[in-house]
Symmetry: C2
Subunit: 407 residues, 2 copies
């Protein structure tokens, strides 16, 4: 997770526009289906098609939710039966979840359309938006438009086509010197990390075997997308796809994969950070660092409890250095922490060191008030393992957005 | 949990004032210590003393949080070493948590003062309020005042003395015909049921052996206080005390305890309902009923996921029958539910029956808009076990209350 520290600068998304479309051999196209049921048509593209010029090795991580959307079910079949695919088709505006057999047929139709229009075989599919609305034929118009613009759309335009309540497109890029990794993601609400988070598509031009790619993707997901939370709600559609088309000519195997893993962490870490930064209604990111644990899993448990606590999240919103809530949340993980061994800092300010420390509340208030990112560091004095979690504050706007989402 | 259904009417707290002070041999007194650190003194009593004329069998349930407040630690010692006690001393305005050795001494001092002033030995102690503020001597003035008014204070006045962000005192009473059970509780935020919830004190005049009383208290707690949530935050101070002084002359044992268990469920169920109804910022109670589970634990897991989901809670606030969020939350329990077997109702309206049902959204909106309590019923088609959970909506006021709590 430390990798996240030095990539904060990458979050200036308006500056950094390189992403999936800037990796050798990958083409993006977007189209407008008008998928979301609204009084007047939504004025932006809502279908994305990504195609690789040559077939690409595929790996994926899916939601663990019992209720899986139709595109998740179909893509799981594709990933388990195919080593290589040619592309991805995705839409926003409708999640195609809880839509039964018809939803599955609709997802298949999206894939078949892409295959027919591009003449290439094996596409993955993903959808995001409202759950439970019947899926719509209007997606077909969007796919046609997307295929027509293949190669003409930028990574940011690709990311924008899968936005729902997002306020900015999420794009990241890593230049490995000879190879590259690009990524896009969407997500702002219903974000919780029991697996992936909402949608993220990664492209790379390395040549890599499927099993290794899957292993690396799973590991990096655990330290990036699975270490963030906005609201603790696990989605039915969470999906991460990675496509490796080998066009850089660089072969990655167990012996030399370190640089690739570093790059992937950077890309996925940046996307994860951007998702939290764009958390529904959020005004601040909170970085929860738990240190001094016996195991990484213990540190993760505590960090997650703090990151999920509405009382901590509202205190961050209120710039209130209410450390009692942080310690209470940590204790609720029930791993056996001892009050007398705890050491808690907010930013550089020591608030608790076995007992209440001597600090000036106004100074900490000012730090919280003037910082976009609040660092909460809890040392539990049990061992030397650590874990870092990203969350955002809980604001009135979160409530407003979600009380009014559909109306 | 079905017992909660017929006690909703008891929630008209302004009508039903009978509680702990109305049980034979129990006296309540309250005093004003001015414990909470505020610019101008709080204009209400903040110390409660409960005394039994004869000694009373004791049982208790405490928070499972690793970080336990000083009064919790001290009361745990008392309950484990004594079968019978004479009373309870409690304060609001300061939780006496994360206060180290000094906090423990302060809790002991509260107990000793009560013992000296009443001439009776063995008191339990409980505190609620801000975590981590040094405890204050001002509590002594409050205890003196409370002991002076013993017998003169009503159950509602007793409950009011332990309020923090509560907007009404929580009181309940059961008349067993010959014996009675009274209860009070406090709690509105930092409510989550991994054990008890905040503070609740129960008095009864039955004669019962400690082991049986403890067993019954634990069981009833699991079905009442442990089946509610406001914000998923587990407190450092959660405590339920029950004192049985035997003064009714009625002996309760394994053979005849059914009526006593029923009464206790009614009292604790009513208090639990009142806590959710008074959830910080809440405008509505949501009753989550999960049926058709293989085990009660499975039903509880799913009900809890739905009850904790911010997206479900904001949808309830917005009167939005957004059943996709409910099903997604249920699926996130990962117990293995199958979309095709789900049957979901909101009130009497069927929304999903293996697939989206045919319903009129406006009708459901109107039901939600005009109801103080929203019933969400999910049948998962796996077995015949069920569980019921109470939660409240998530509103802007919750955020406002907790972003500004201390300032």
């Amino acid at each position: 997770m430390l990798v996240l520290k030095f990539i904060e600068s990458m979050v200036q998304w308006s500056v950094i526009m390189k992403g999936i479309a800037d990796v050798k051999g990958f083409l993006c196209g977007t189209g407008r289906g008008g998928i979301k049921k609204t009084e007047k048509p939504v004025d932006r593209d809502d279908v994305l098609v990504i195609v690789s010029e040559t077939s690409a090795t595929v790996a994926a991580v899916f939601t663990k939710n019992d209720i899986k959307a139709a595109p998740v079910k179909l893509s799981m079949e594709v990933v388990s039966s195919q080593d290589r695919v040619f592309g991805i088709v995705a839409n926003s505006g409708n999640a195609n979840a809880c839509t039964g057999e018809q939803g599955f047929k609709d997802a298949e139709k999206m894939v078949k359309m892409c295959e027919n229009l591009t003449g290439k075989k094996h596409f993955l599919v993903a959808s995001t938006g409202v759950i439970g609305e019947p899926f719509v034929d209007r997606v077909e118009k969007g796919i046609e438009g997307a295929v027509k613009t293949l190669g003409a759309k930028s990574s940011s335009e690709a990311a924008a086509a899968i936005m729902t309540t997002d306020t900015f497109p999420k794009v990241a890029f890593f230049d490995g010197g000879g190879f590259s990794i690009g990524g896009i993601a969407k997500g702002a609400g219903m974000i919780d990390p029991a697996m992936a988070t909402m949608l993220s598509f990664i492209t790379t031009d390395v040549d890599i075997e499927k099993g290794l790619l899957q292993k690396i993707l799973r590991e990096v997901t655990d330290e990036t997308f699975n270490a963030i939370t906005v609201d603790g709600d696990m989605s039915t559609n969470d999906t991460v796809f990675i496509l490796a088309n080998g066009m850089s000519g660089i072969k990655i195997d167990e012996s030399n994969c370190e640089i690739f893993v570093t790059g992937l962490k950077e890309v996925m870490g940046s996307l994860a950070y951007q998702i939290v930064k764009d958390g529904e209604g959020a005004t601040k990111v909170a970085r929860i660092i738990v240190e001094g644990a016996l195991t990484k899993e213990e540190a993760r448990k505590i960090a997650r409890k703090i990151a999920l606590s509405p009382l901590v999240k509202t205190a961050v919103f209120g710039c209130d250095p209410n450390w009692g809530r942080i310690i209470a949340a940590a204790g609720s993980a029930c791993v056996g922490i001892d009050e007398g061994k705890l050491r808690l800092k907010i930013g550089d300010f020591l608030l608790f060191d076995g007992k209440r420390a001597d600090y000036c509340e106004d100074d900490i208030y000012n730090y919280m008030k003037t910082s976009d990112e609040i660092v909460i560091n809890l040392h539990i004095g049990r061992g030397n393992k650590s874990f870092e979690y990203l969350t955002c504050d809980l604001t009135c706007d979160y409530v407003r957005i979600n009380a009014e989402y559909r109306t």
